[in-house]
Symmetry: C2
Subunit: 555 residues, 2 copies
Amino acid sequence: MAKIPQKIQIIPLGGLGEIGKNMTVVRYGDEIIVIDCGLMFPEDDMLGIDLVIPDITYLVENQDLIKAIVLTHGHEDHIGALPFVLRQINVPVVYGTRLTLGILESRLKEANVPTTNLKPVKPGDSIKTGFFQLGFIHVSHSIADAVGLYLTTPAGTIVHTGDFKLDHTPVDHKVTDFYKLAELGDQGVLVMLADSTNSERPGYTLSERSVGLTFDETFRNARERIIIATFSSNIHRIQQAVDTACRYKRKVAVLGRSMVNVVNIAIELGYLTVPEGVLIDIDEINNYPAASIVIVTTGSQGEPMSALTRMAMSDHRKVDITPGDTVIISATPIPGNEKLVSRTVDFLLRQGAEVVYEKASGVHVSGHASQEELKLMHNLIRPKFFIPVHGEYRHLKKHARLALDLGLPKENIFIAENGSILEFSQEKGCFAGKTTAGNVLVDGLGVGDVGNIVLRDRRQLSKDGILIVVVTMDKANGGVIAGPDIVSRGFVYVRESEQLIEDARDKISQALEKCELNHITEWAAIKSNIRDMLSKYLYERTRRRPMILPIIMEV
Amino acid sequence: MAKIPQKIQIIPLGGLGEIGKNMTVVRYGDEIIVIDCGLMFPEDDMLGIDLVIPDITYLVENQDLIKAIVLTHGHEDHIGALPFVLRQINVPVVYGTRLTLGILESRLKEANVPTTNLKPVKPGDSIKTGFFQLGFIHVSHSIADAVGLYLTTPAGTIVHTGDFKLDHTPVDHKVTDFYKLAELGDQGVLVMLADSTNSERPGYTLSERSVGLTFDETFRNARERIIIATFSSNIHRIQQAVDTACRYKRKVAVLGRSMVNVVNIAIELGYLTVPEGVLIDIDEINNYPAASIVIVTTGSQGEPMSALTRMAMSDHRKVDITPGDTVIISATPIPGNEKLVSRTVDFLLRQGAEVVYEKASGVHVSGHASQEELKLMHNLIRPKFFIPVHGEYRHLKKHARLALDLGLPKENIFIAENGSILEFSQEKGCFAGKTTAGNVLVDGLGVGDVGNIVLRDRRQLSKDGILIVVVTMDKANGGVIAGPDIVSRGFVYVRESEQLIEDARDKISQALEKCELNHITEWAAIKSNIRDMLSKYLYERTRRRPMILPIIMEV
């Protein structure tokens, strides 16, 4: 029988060098635990892409070793890739807290993926699977029921903080289990992986409860309807909105598909408490005076199809913005969304609403730990080795710097990449190679079929459109029978550019004649000639570079 | 002879409800003064567009009434449309300060537009043209030689602040002319137009000099090369970089086409003072120890083709980032550029540079007045009527609110739009209709030819590409001679989607047969059939909506 291994491997497959698609493999001997399985939203240059999931080649190749997938919380960047991954590989069990699995279950059902392997766990639970002892620790985050993890093996204990902040006055009264964290640190932690999102921010992240205070003040001053836009997953934020509404004797209506969905799951599972009669249907809001209404809605990121954005553009079937409405945008723009949010704010203001949206206004707090909380986590866990996770490079670098400042030796801190294979034993930690990792792009029903070539083409098409040249040629003698016909899209406004198109057609005819004269009959060569000539000609005339697509029909 | 008019019209043609393309018409009787003539950078959905200029139909129609164009300062959003506008209309004279005209002149030369009508002015100058008395007042901004304007007419005086901040310790020692502003206010100002950019920010904007202090501290701590990225137009920032370099006995090299350009103009005109021997060519930097080098470069907005970005990506012909370099990003991201800047920061960090980039780090201050400075401006000028300008809607609204809080009656405050015609007399101010205004999109050599249809097509192409169907049909009997052939770009990766394309081809053949059976011979109808059928079919199979382009060749 094989000796008991003294090494643990940690292989991040997503979440490093990016915000999104978090996924980490922990391997001990022939056993694998996968922590989280998230998706990432497409970058601006990933044209037409719906979402991005991690490349799981490593998991496909080692499918039989997987003991479990363990989820830290229900955000998309931690569970969103599961509908795809569970179609590709068999996994004995997926562990998560009840709210996390509740949200996951509805995603899996939408995607027609079986939901039989989901096993709920509670903070404080400890589960043995193979050589692993899996433990779950309650942490505060911007979604309820979030946990950090510890995985104990004969070679040592690994702690993964999950996404966390240290909120001393959490809305659900469930303070972080400091005792458990300190106990783990005391017993000895080999490696810690910790949330780097806010590592650039000095000080502490404000408590979620501070938003409740701001809600109270805003509600007190609002004379008409109140509309609160926030992330549908932020149950505690919604709870505070509901509590404040009750305090000011207002009814609450919920708007937006994902908001309605998550609120229902949360109420059903007991994570959101709404007194009898407070919740009304959106169709009923006009039965009450404006001063008695609160609408909780999606759209805090200015998402084009969201309820708030459609209301702002007077485009929502059920709700219009009326002058006197107070709109609270209870979120800050995720990097990349700043202009979308500003645009929504402008439209709301034009409709005569009061809008509370500025960072300093106290209507949003982050769900991630700032520097002082991170330092506390480090000094509670006191790991031998440290891997900053959940961040872009500068976040990881800053978090590594924090650990260094706290006294961890430089060689014990690992700024890794997706695919890095890191090995740890009591004596030593090191990089031990790389495995396949990267982005798999999802577009419509296609998973991974859109790659660089398709994206490159979409980029060219998006800039200057396409010009198609069709020629019908005689199979027998290679002469032109019909055409060249030109069709363009996204290049010029054809009605005003007729001369340009005519001139281009003449140029193509000349090129075809030249091919015939020089006995160039091979189609690839003819198309190449046309393409090069036209490309040069159109650039001279327009300084634009449309895609040029010569098509030869043989007859 | 006509009575002397008692009314002034103010018609913004750009800059309201947006940041960019500033242009305001002031009309008194049959005389027009145009204040500024700027461009705007394209919105994210203006695919392939290079820049946006104002629709100047109003100016074209009233060309003969234009007495002058007056420029407040040399930023692109105030002068960038002139190369286009001066090609369309004749203007007797363009007034601007020397640096402003120096920058403009190089733009006009690049565009082959004559530069004979440019007349330099100095702060303190007062010029009579027709019924207008034009006056120029020095203001501080993030470019040197910026002015505010006052236009005195028999009907009253108009003050336009230009872009401004109230910097009490400006780098060029030229403090804002508070006396002139107060004098104007004392004599009576009918209308003020003022810069709304920072109207949401409480307090004061920090002095430009505070950046110099931060430079000093950073230079003191830097052991190797220092690279400062900033806006090429911010001469005072560059001056402070040069001054600090001298203090620390470092040489300065300038990198980036626009940076080199503006620095040369500024030195020539005396706006930038660089002691003998301090400036070196970029090719010489390796002749000096790292600790003796400062590079001033473009790229503070993460612009893909800029020097800093290329250095970060190891893609610059002349300069590489070396570990130990200190890079200062002396700017904050313009809304929309946040991810570009983060990406550059990450790449620089990966190359081993220290990067100073955070807002709180003191390496950048705004060039626009915050709330307390705006209030001071209002209380100096004390206009009867007020039009907030240079801002998106929420900026204008906030600025209007400020004026209200200072005691201006609501009906004397005008939140206008581009194209609004505002009329003012000593008795009354009001909206008096609208004129043509809007965006003219510039793409390559084309001005205004790319409109909604072309953009709409580019958007569809960018999302899901294009699928082209070519059929050759017999002119005589309408039968199919060749095809259907299918070519796609940006839709699927063809090598992996052969079956899908085959199936689509079968479907098209069936549709063609059906058309023949039903005696549908009109091409438009046949194409329509193909398009509808294919659109539905491809969406079922892929959940994607490529543009579908049927082409029929007749033989």
